[in-house]
């Protein structure tokens, strides 16, 4: 056996812009996405979906479909009813409760079957399944399934759902209310009664459609004789999907293998247990052959979860100078027809953040959820935290106006000063660390804040008097987010059904190579590269020596997958701790081989060196070889060099930062052009700066899209009017600007690497930065309130109604009755043509 070559001198890979190992196959079309998977004998599934939003199913007849060319089988909801041990799972069943007391009612989680059996409750719900020998034959055959719908009154808003006499969606519950959940911290009501300044506004976050560019899909391959199933799914949660599929189908968990192949983005939309996945398993079990379903985009607009759809009554109490005393918010959430995997918990993820990074003495949060005849909402990038940051950053601008301070002054007055150890905040949580003033100061500098304000003071009054031209606006968003889901005991207290830990295994091979097996499930975040960097530094090898395996439950049996910006702070820390175990064992072996005590060894330059005699050293690859031959191991030391760690974080992490948007609003067209967008983010220690910047740019683009363009609109019959990519505006490169990015680094006190997570910073920070900027601009022409989305049409209407133009919607006064009374405009059509006019430079 030849001795292992010396590894390259131990260079520091963590913190460096290592190019992504994931790229070569994705760049050359060699990626393996779900639709690239075809298996011998595979059949295709397609679904009959109700066009009607609320109806009893009086007849589902698949007989005609069975006669169609290539059709092998077809099933109604009743046909498959016997396949389900339990219905579609909700892992976060929130009930009526005022913390810290126990709930005062059972969770209102209705039965929800993969295929509707007697009633449909949202347009797009599955009523029948067709299985055929080709994609085309399956699509043709669904036309032949005959379904009779006995239509029922339709409920399309949370207000409507909770009004007296509203049509109840789920008879078993007797109400459309999902829950009333909340808590108070400190003497919040008294402070609000006595405070000299109270500002209240109402905001509405339109419903959003995630639009990962890869549609969902699933392929199930059965080994009928063994009762085994391999499930390939475009999912963010292979490990959780495996557990849930066992529960729903009753199949032995060890007989289920879930593989997330290359997944084309998720943003929360693939963080779910979907009906199509369960049906694919049931049909594969019935037919004994592989089956495949690939979502069509407009099908996905109905079948895949939506985001947001939340009305917020936000209030702050303050001194005359604008010093924040207390924050209080009431949310009304439209959850859609059913509780999907974590639907009820999404607003709860923001529950402790409605005072932002600001000091306050007391806090109140209450949230009411309602069922409506619309696609269920669930996690969409940010999940609860964008809504919180939006409300805080909008109300801070309103407070500034009220007390005669600038938007910058009001924030500098209230930002929590720098702290490096966990610090309890008004809502009762403990933030891990933060230097919010530093991020904000750097953002102001990069944006040329004072200069822009001077130009604005000169230009806007002139444009207002001339009645035409481009108004300048500045929007600030000093955000905070709660990431790193999560300490498992905290999840238990919140009735969340799973744990918040994650796992990693390291195997050091005799050839000096390293395998890392992770419990995270990357789908664009670059974990293969960043975990390679962490392992390389921890073990004194290079990133190319490290192979990272993920997403296949046969290879990585243990994990809690990827969402909520948790992968690095939980999964990455599990890897860090596994490496600690490797080094502990390696040190014992090295000491034994070098005939010194362990105390004489130092871990330096990626080796165990004898203190004072650095040439006497052992590298991990050398020790891995010794551990493999086991020729001369210390007494009772096991052969082999591998270790597993499962890490349950003691606290969340709290990335934060400051974004500033400088915009020009054209008073004639209402169009907003982003002149400058600055993002200064603090996500603690950086593993790979290139990947961090990429996450910020992608998140900011989605946040700007939510602020300016995106809005899913239902009509009164529960039909999704913006039903495809040509009527729902996902912005292209032409509609988005370049971003100016920078960072401050305040290591987290939650984990040893001091990491916080960055995946959702952009979607959390950008919407209020943009809306504050547009509101700041149009204030000069008398618009005193405007809300999401600030599309060209809504801005135009607001300007003209402020001018007494009459045909715009009335701009709401400060008492904030604005948003709810503004029925969402069908704005997506209004500016469809101007897309080709060229976009933001």
């Amino acid at each position: 056996m030849t001795q292992v070559a010396e590894p390259e001198a131990a260079k520091q890979f963590v913190g460096g812009g290592v190019l992504r190992k994931e790229d070569p196959e994705l760049l050359t079309g060699q990626g393996r996405f779900i639709d690239d998977i075809t298996l011998p004998g595979m059949l295709w599934m397609s679904f009959v979906r109700t066009p009607v939003a609320h109806a009893n199913l009086t007849r589902v007849d698949v007989s005609a479909a069975l006669e169609m060319p290539g059709v092998v089988a077809a099933f109604s909801g009743q046909d498959l009813a016997s396949e389900w041990a339990i219905g579609m799972p909700c892992a976060w069943p929130i009930a009526d409760r005022v913390l810290p007391e126990e709930p005062t009612a059972d969770p209102r989680i209705p039965d929800h079957w993969p295929v509707a059996q007697d009633k449909v409750r949202y347009s797009g719900e599955i009523v029948a399944v067709v299985v055929a020998d080709s994609r085309e034959h399956a699509a043709d055959a669904i036309e032949a399934v005959e379904v009779d719908y006995e239509e029922l009154p339709v409920v399309t808003s949370a207000e409507q759902a909770l009004a007296d006499g509203a049509q109840v969606l789920h008879e078993s519950l007797g109400t459309n209310k999902v829950y009333t959940w909340g808590f108070k911290n400190g003497d919040v009501d008294r402070i609000f009664d006595e405070a000299p300044v109270v500002v209240k506004q109402r905001y509405y976050h339109p419903r959003l459609i995630p639009n990962a560019i890869e549609p969902r899909g699933v392929v199930v391959s059965p080994v009928a004789s063994q009762g085994e199933f391999t499930i390939y799914s475009a999912t963010q949660i292979p490990h959780i999907l495996k557990v849930l599929m066992a529960l729903v189908t009753g199949i032995h968990e060890a007989k289920i293998r879930v593989i997330a192949p290359d997944v084309g983005g998720g943003f929360g939309s693939k963080l779910n247990f979907y009906a199509e996945e369960a049906i694919a398993v049931a049909v594969a079990k019935r037919l004994g052959v592989p089956v495949k379903w690939i979502e069509e985009r407009s099908e996905g607009y109905l079948a895949t979860i939506h985001g947001r759809d939340v009305t917020q009554d936000m209030e702050v109490a303050a001194t005359e100078e604008g010093k924040l005393l207390a924050a209080r918010v009431k949310l009304l959430c439209d959850f859609g027809a059913y509780s999907q995997l974590v639907t009820p918990g999404i607003p709860i993820l923001g529950a402790w953040l409605y005072h932002g990074p600001y000091h306050a003495d007391a806090y109140g949060f209450e949230c009411v959820g309602a069922y409506t005849n619309k696609t269920p909402t669930d996690a969409y990038r940010g999940a609860g935290r964008p809504e919180a940051t939006y409300a805080v950053e909008r109300i801070m601008d309103a407070l500034a106006l009220r007390v005669g301070k600038s938007a910058a002054e009001i924030r500098e007055l209230n930002l929590i000063p720098r702290f490096t150890e966990a610090k309890e905040i008004a809502s009762g949580l403990s933030f891990d660390s933060g230097d919010y003033p530093a991020s904000f100061a750097k953002a102001k500098e990069l944006a040329g804040y004072d200069e822009v304000r001077r130009e604005q003071a000169e230009r806007n009054p002139r444009v207002a008097s001339e009645g035409k031209g481009k108004l300048l606006g500045v929007g600030i968003s000093t955000y905070i987010e709660m990431c790193g889901l999560a300490p498992s005991q905290v999840l238990a207290a919140l009735k969340y059904g799973a744990g918040g830990w994650d796992a990693a295994t390291i195997r050091c091979h005799p050839t000096g190579k390293v395998t890392v097996i992770t419990g995270t499930s990357p789908h664009g975040q670059g974990h293969v590269t960043t975990w390679s960097q962490i392992a390389a530094d921890a073990l004194g090898v290079t990133p190319d020596d490290v192979e990272v395996l993920h997403g296949d439950t046969a290879i990585s049996p243990t994990g809690m997958d990827t969402y909520g910006s948790r992968s690095l702070s939980v999964g990455g820390t599990a890897l860090y701790k596994a490496a600690e175990k490797i080094r502990a064992k390696a040190k014992r072996i090295a000491a034994h081989e070098l005939e010194v005590s362990e105390d004489d060894l130092e871990w330096r330059e990626g080796k165990f060196q004898v203190a004072g005699a650095p040439d006497k050293a052992k590298s991990i690859p050398e020790i891995a070889f010794s551990a493999w031959t086991a020729h001369a191991l210390p007494a009772d030391e096991e052969p082999g060099l591998f270790a597993t760690a499962v890490y349950d974080p003691p606290n969340f992490t709290f990335p934060a930062g400051a974004h500033i948007a400088v915009v020009e609003v054209d008073t004639e067209t209402g169009r907003t052009e982003i002149v400058k967008y600055v993002a200064v983010d603090d996500c603690g220690t950086i593993i790979n700066p290139i990947i961090v910047d990429g996450q910020v740019q992608g998140g900011v683009a989605q946040g700007i899209a939510e602020a300016l363009y995106e809005e899913a609109i239902y009509d009164d019959d529960g039909v999704l009017v913006t039903g495809n990519m040509s009527t729902y505006r996902v912005p292209s490169a032409a509609e988005l600007p370049n971003f100016t990015l920078d960072r401050t680094v305040t290591p987290s006190s939650t984990n040893p690497m001091g990491v916080k997570g960055i995946g959702e910073a952009g979607t959390i920070a950008a919407p209020p930065a943009i809306v504050n900027a547009v509101a700041d601009a149009v204030r000069a022409v008398g618009v005193d309130f405007i809300d999401l989305p600030v599309s060209a049409e809504r801005v135009w209407r607001a300007i003209h109604s402020a001018r007494g133009g009459g045909d715009g919607e009335r701009a709401a006064p400060d008492t904030g009755t604005g948003a709810a009374s503004m029925t969402p405009q069908a704005s997506a059509f209004g500016d469809a043509d101007e897309r080709s006019e060229g976009g933001a430079q």
């Binding site: 190019l19 992504r20 070569p24 994705l26 760049l27 050359t28 079309g29 060699q30 990626g31 393996r32 996405f33 639709d35 690239d36 075809t38 994609r135 085309e136 639009n211 990962a212 560019i213 890869e214 549609p215 290359d262 997944v263 084309g264 983005g265 943003f267 690939i294 069509e296 985009r297 407009s298 789908h523 664009g524 975040q525 670059g526 290139i690 990947i691 910047d693 990429g694 910020v696 740019q697 992608g698 998140g699 900011v700 683009a701 989605q702 495809n724 990519m725 040509s726 996902v730 292209s732 490169a733 032409a734 988005l736 370049n738 971003f739 897309r835 080709s836 060229g838 976009g839 430079q841």
Partner: protein, 164 residues
């Protein structure tokens, strides 16, 4: 069924196709070239962009029978003997991809802009990419990658990628 023949990535291919089969499914399912992806059903996303006779085309908006007798370049046709095409390399150097699903279409669209002499300012490249949607990157690095590749690809000895 109709018989069509076309040169795909420099290789002559012949096949019987249903008249209604879209070019993207001919490439993916008949020829097994799964690098070209489908992301929508309204010609909006551009993930299916390929080159047909030197022009960028959304292959979900063209029938396979219309491709009879044409020269097609897909993402699989750019790299040669293990070497990435300069545009592919630029996407790698500038982190112009994250999940990679829109990347094949984005690269073909970028190649089209470079080859048809489009302007390479931020605004011109962004407008040129109006038909290619990405949800992960926010586009900035993609624009930079295309601009940089253009400088190398537009040398006097204009090195053409793919089968041209």
């Amino acid at each position: 069924m109709r018989r069509i023949t076309c040169a795909v990535n420099g290789v002559q291919r012949e096949a019987e196709v249903e008249p209604r089969q879209l070019l993207v499914y001919f490439l993916r399912e008949t020829l097994g070239l799964t690098g070209t992806n489908v992301g929508c059903d309204t010609s909006s996303c551009g993930a299916c962009t390929v080159m047909v006779d030197g022009k960028t085309v959304k292959s979900c908006t063209m029938l396979a029978v219309q491709a009879d007798g044409t020269e097609i370049t897909t993402i699989e046709g750019l790299a040669s003997n293990g070497e990435l095409h300069p545009l592919q390399e630029a996407f790698r150097q500038h982190h112009g991809l994250q999940c990679g699903y829109c990347t094949p279409g984005m690269i073909m669209a970028g190649l089209g802009l470079i080859q048809d002499g489009s302007g390479m300012s931020d605004a011109e490249v962004r407008l040129g990419l109006e038909g290619n949607l990405c949800r992960c990157t926010g586009y900035q690095n993609i624009v930079t990658a295309i601009q940089e590749a253009a400088t190398t690809l537009r040398q006097p000895a204009d090195v053409q990628g793919g089968s041209e």
